[in-house]
């Protein structure tokens, strides 16, 4: 009765791994490496590094490239070294970290919910974090610690609100986007109210922060974002395999031996932490979380965005955008968020226009 007779089949008869994937074996271990994604990670990192080095040399006190490299290596003339490592390096490091964090959060959200529009900036996580941070800045004085705590609380509160309202025996991406718009509006209203009630000085500080800016970052900001990455990257690395099953739906994930609810909560939780702390460190820099994974998806010509490549892409985008924001209208420096918004908004429009079915797009 069998139409396809199953004879002895040699394992190498078909190339059963995708063309870009190689199995690397060492001892008893075997890892799958996505060659193209790896190349992308290297390219994005190199570009981020290049933009960073240029950025380190730029400013009121220009430092030639050679001096920048010397300063980074720990030598060079003491004034240049101080300007580069103490005044400008925290900014570039924060930028890279914040970009990587937003992009990683975006990739995780988009893949868990299976919708390219579900990134923390679209569904209100960043807006919630902003409201929390503005509350901290205007009412509590805005030390780094208060800002971080405020952003975390705001982000988790809006994530929880989003999830509870959108939940109907499961969460569909489209519904989450719609509810997210509502949550964003609510958070923005709270933010606006706080701004109108604030002292003029605080309000000005908060509103610059609200556009997303890397100006005057110190090592404490870089530390905040490093902490977020330290907590969340291991979660993403460990759960990446489960994420590949979550993409096949809850029933399939269960039948392949994982608990979908636990894996999803851990992944989304780490995404919220990343988006919240990135927002706390640099303000809600728009669109990086939405755009970076989509760029990676297209460059890899893959169904889903690799997490590492997305993070590297986010770092590159943010550092490059900050460089552009500082140099385009020099000596006037724009906040980096203005530039990412101007570049990212058309991208969102294209994504929306191409959304062909409910819950699917791109």
């Amino acid at each position: 009765m069998a139409v396809h007779k199953t004879g002895p089949v040699r394992g190498d008869r078909y190339q059963v791994l995708p063309p870009d994937v190689r199995a690397v074996r060492a001892g008893g271990a075997a890892l799958l490496l996505h060659v193209r994604a790896l190349v992308l990670v290297c390219l994005f990192s190199a570009a981020a590094l290049a933009a960073g080095v240029v950025s380190l040399g730029m400013g009121d006190y220009p430092v030639p490239l050679g001096e920048v490299v010397l300063a980074l290596a720990g030598g060079g003339d003491p004034i240049s070294a101080h300007v580069v490592t103490e005044m400008r390096l925290p900014r570039v490091a924060s930028g890279a970290g914040v970009g990587a964090a937003f992009a990683l959060a975006g990739a995780v959200f988009q893949r868990v919910v299976r919708n390219p529009l579900v990134s923390p900036d679209v569904i209100g996580i960043n807006a919630g974090a902003s409201a929390g941070a503005v509350l901290a800045i205007t009412v509590l004085g805005g030390s780094t610690m208060f800002t971080v705590a405020g952003a975390l609380i705001g982000a988790f509160a809006s994530a929880a609100l989003c999830y509870l309202v959108a939940y109907q025996g499961g969460v569909s991406g489209y519904r989450l986007v719609l509810v997210g718009i509502g949550v964003t509006a609510l958070s923005s209203a709270l933010t606006s109210y706080l701004l109108t009630r604030a002292e003029l000085h605080d309000a000005q500080r908060a509103s610059i922060w609200l556009t997303g800016s890397l100006a005057n970052r110190s090592w404490s900001h870089a530390g905040v974002i490093a902490g977020a990455l330290l907590v969340s990257v291991p979660v993403a690395v460990i759960l990446a395999r489960r994420l590949r099953l979550l993409e096949l739906g809850d029933d399939m994930a269960r039948t392949l031996g994982i608990g979908p609810d636990g894996a999803r909560s851990a992944l989304l939780g780490s995404g919220v932490v990343l988006a919240a702390l990135a927002t706390a460190a640099a303000g809600p820099i728009a669109f990086v979380a939405l755009v970076a994974p989509q760029i990676v998806r297209r460059l890899l010509n893959e169904s889903t965005a690799g997490l590492a490549a997305s993070a590297a892409c986010g770092a590159m985008l943010t550092v490059a955008a900050d460089l552009a924001a500082r140099s385009l209208f020099a000596p006037i420096e724009l906040p980096v968020g203005v530039l990412t918004a101007v570049a990212g908004a058309p991208f969102l429009l294209v994504l929306l226009a191409r959304a062909n079915r409910i819950g699917r797009s791109g």
Binding site: V3, R13, A30, T255, T304
Partner: protein, 271 residues
């Protein structure tokens, strides 16, 4: 492991009650699936066929009772262990847009893999064998959106085969397929049991196809097993009336001599 129970893929339910919220779909249901055979679950819409399959696969947790796999309550088995022995293909599985056939089928190997052992020669061999058995080897690098419905269904079956479970549950593998592709998929399913004493349980809508391809039938009615056994024992005019509420005649299929259900003619166009 000290236990010496043969792992034959004998699946049974004892006092199984499964439901959504307050509503019980299955009430204290008992059944035994014969190992190494193809069993079809048939019944009218909303008779609890899919719920039974989901209960057997532990996708839905029972409110009472248990499902036993070779005598062991599956509720007590670690999820990863169960996944090595029991696989299920949901009715409408979803895949990331643009995913390639090989990538999708390879994900079926998850229960056999660890973080530090992501791809073994056994994985390679199992995926190759699954694609060969389902006749999709030549499609390995095509995105599944580009395939026909019948081909896509073969890809999903290949994923379940790559998982290589002793018991394979399929929820309406032929829905949304035209007749020739239905036959095609069922031929494939029937061949699965032969090559490796695999227990196959599938929900089927078409009673006549179920009679042809299944060794055993389970007829569901209002959340209970109304009749079970060989198709020739189960499918009688009386059972069909009770299970489907349909007046019919049952004659031997001229090709296979399995029972063939002919609905009673209410409107006669031809005499």
């Amino acid at each position: 492991m000290t236990q010496n129970i043969a792992q034959t893929g004998a699946l049974s339910a004892r006092g199984l009650t499964v439901g959504y919220g307050d509503r019980d779909v299955l009430r204290s249901l008992a059944l035994d699936v014969e190992p190494g055979r193809v069993t079809a679950i048939v019944g009218a819409n909303a008779s609890g066929k899919s719920t039974l399959l989901r209960g057997l696969a532990r996708i839905m947790r029972p409110k009472a009772g248990s499902v036993l796999l070779d005598g062991v309550d599956i509720a007590r088995m670690p999820a990863a262990q169960l996944a090595l022995r029991l696989g299920m293909l949901p009715q409408q599985p979803v895949a990331p847009e643009g995913i390639s056939v090989a990538d999708l089928v390879g994900r079926g190997r998850h229960p056999h893999q660890r973080w530090f052992r992501q791809w073994s020669p056994a994985d390679q061999a199992a995926v190759a064998a699954a694609m060969h058995a389902t006749g999709i080897g030549h499609l390995a690098h095509r995105p599944i959106d580009a395939l026909s419905g019948g081909q896509r269904q073969r890809v999903w079956i290949a994923l379940a085969l790559a998982q290589d479970p002793d018991v394979l549950l399929l929820d309406e593998p032929t829905s949304f397929l035209d007749l020739s592709h239905q036959v095609d998929v069922l031929d494939l399913v029937a061949s699965l049991g032969e090559e490796r004493d695999r227990t196959v349980v599938l929900v089927l809508h078409d009673l006549n196809l179920a009679c042809r391809y299944a060794d055993r039938l389970i007829a569901m009615r209002e959340g209970e097993v109304h009749a079970s056994g060989a198709p020739s024992e189960v499918v009688t005019a009386e059972t069909v009336r009770e299970v489907f509420g349909l007046d019919c005649e049952v004659v031997p299929d001229p090709l296979t001599s399995s029972p063939l259900v002919l609905p009673a003619a209410r409107h006669r166009r031809h005499r």
